[in-house]
């Protein structure tokens, strides 16, 4: 609770939290907030020439190239972004933490193998790897989430590994080992709690990265597949209209930026609050 108050006390973080909450509300209550079903092609949704309608009274943000209501698609797109953001990043952080803690706590050959493998994964261009993986599997919502997790866990593993090693070498851990405290107790009672702040920060900041990667994959046409709306694939579908109907590209684009910004702002504030070594820096 005090953490929440500390976040709200910072104007930029409060703004970030507001955006995130708004996106969550949109995603959860999408069926009640949208005037039209997102996949319905409206009879009067296109001009006589077949062009998308500009923002107006009936279609608040206009319609897309198939005459579907942009606002409704945008609201449902929040669902896609958040589901992938939370699931993919959750898997990435869990996997990264598991690998990092195991390697850092056990060291030895297990640690060496795990960390050499993460080195290997670091050498892949992330987007290229994601594209190849997405092309390999038939991209559904969950596959896209999994692909992103497969790419993003590496950073977490590195950071957690370094922290685990540095904590295990501190005097208080040494003292416990010398009085015969079991490895399990040391790990769960004394090392993991120290890693918790880092994990919380990554769990937030990582969602921003994930939202951006999902948008990019969907923009390239290998992420979430239409007709399921995703902000990235809305831009992909409509980009041929970007000179005559720029709102079809820039409104979803703005939504992506806002959501990523929201998670970045909250994550940055969490880092300041949770990491005492950074206190007084700014």
């Amino acid at each position: 609770m005090s953490l929440l108050l500390q976040i709200i006390a910072r104007p930029s973080a409060a703004f970030g939290l507001f955006i995130v909450m708004l996106a969550i509300i949109f995603a959860v209550f999408a069926p009640w907030l949208t005037p039209f079903p997102p996949e319905l092609q409206m009879f009067d949704g296109l001009t006589i020439e077949g062009a998308p309608l500009p923002p107006g009274d009936v279609y608040w943000l206009g319609t897309d190239l198939l005459g579907r209501d942009l606002f409704s698609r945008l609201v449902y797109g929040a669902q896609t972004s958040l589901i992938i953001g939370i699931v993919a990043n959750g898997v990435a952080v869990s996997l990264g933490a598991l690998v990092g803690v195991t390697a850092g706590f056990l060291r030895g050959w297990v640690g060496t193998i795990l960390m050499r493998f993460t080195d290997l994964m670091m050498a892949f261009p992330a987007l290229l790897l994601a594209i190849v993986l997405a092309a390999l599997f038939k991209p559904s919502l969950w596959i896209v989430a999994l692909v992103i997790a497969m790419v993003n866990w590496v950073q977490v593993a590195r950071v957690i590994y370094i922290q685990t090693v540095s904590i295990s070498e501190r005097d208080f851990i040494m003292a416990e080992r010398s009085i015969g405290v079991s490895a399990r107790r040391i790990l769960f009672r004394h090392i993991l709690p120290h890693l918790f702040p880092t994990l919380v920060v990554w769990a937030t900041l990582g969602i921003a990265t994930t939202v951006l990667l999902e948008a990019t994959l969907s923009y390239l046409g290998i992420g979430v597949q239409p007709p399921t709306p995703s902000w990235g694939n809305i831009i992909n579908e409509n980009q041929t209209y970007f000179t005559s109907a720029p709102w079809l590209v820039f409104i979803p684009g703005g939504a992506i930026v806002l959501l990523a910004l929201g998670f970045n702002l909250v994550g940055d504030a969490l880092r300041d609050i949770l990491d005492p070594t950074l206190k007084g820096r700014s």
Binding site: S12, L128, V132, I235, I256, A260, L265, R281
Partner: protein, 306 residues
Amino acid sequence: MTGYIIRRFIQAFLILLGVSFITFVLLYLVPADPARQIAGRSATAQTVANIREQLGLNLPFYEQYWRYLINLLQGDFGRSYLQKTQVGELIASRLPASLLLMAAAIVTELVFGLAIGIIAAVRRNSILDRTLMVISFIGVSTPQFVVGILMLYLFAVKLAWFPIGGYGTFQHLILPSLTLGVLGAGWYSRMMRSSLIDVLNQDYVRTASAKGMPRLRVIFRHALPNALLPVIAMIGIDIGFFMSGIVVVESVFGWPGIGQLAWQAIQRIDIPIIMGVTLVSACAIVLGNLLADLIAPFVDPRIKLK
């Protein structure tokens, strides 16, 4: 030092070997039949079988990989399935365009990133500082394709200051390099700010100010050189981000580099090209990281390589 470098090169070689193996496995699993693709739809089963034999696609997996590896060590990336050209030549002909784009993006991110970071640090906690930091946060929160389309819309379509895409002149370079550099500029400005604030809090900076040295001289002669080094040392690590970024930026602007080559190859499942570009990118990333580590002791003499 020499021992360290040799060890790192061996490590780099092993990493690249691993990358080649993983990529090969992934592409082996792609549900597409390259022989059928090359032969075309109307080819007979016999033709397809011949092509399969010719390319060694009928061999067991490990033999295919071994053949690829042996050729690779002789500098042969294989032939493109669809373009019927050597992949090595294709990459070599496209690499200069990508390198030019990346060099211009480094200039972009340093110029904007450092300038914003320095101003923010010097005017710490002012409204200007907060505004600049919000802008840098927006920079790191914007996907590159959105930046690219926005640049195209504003500066190529509406204002018509720059060409809408393509390659050749300095004019063509501006928008793609700005697009590729925005993300980095956001990160650099934040790093520059915190690095300079750190240094400005040091005793020797206070001493310099206490002696009555003008503020600008304190900042530019005493604080900045020390604050700049750790930031500059990050350029090596940027290579990895660029290798991802060029796939998007080159496809938005029609820039004929290896990013576009990779993207086209992925859409057509032209496996030798995907392999080749992945390996070249991995090579660049590994070298970039090595460079960053080698520079580190010069930046901060307290760091010892071991």
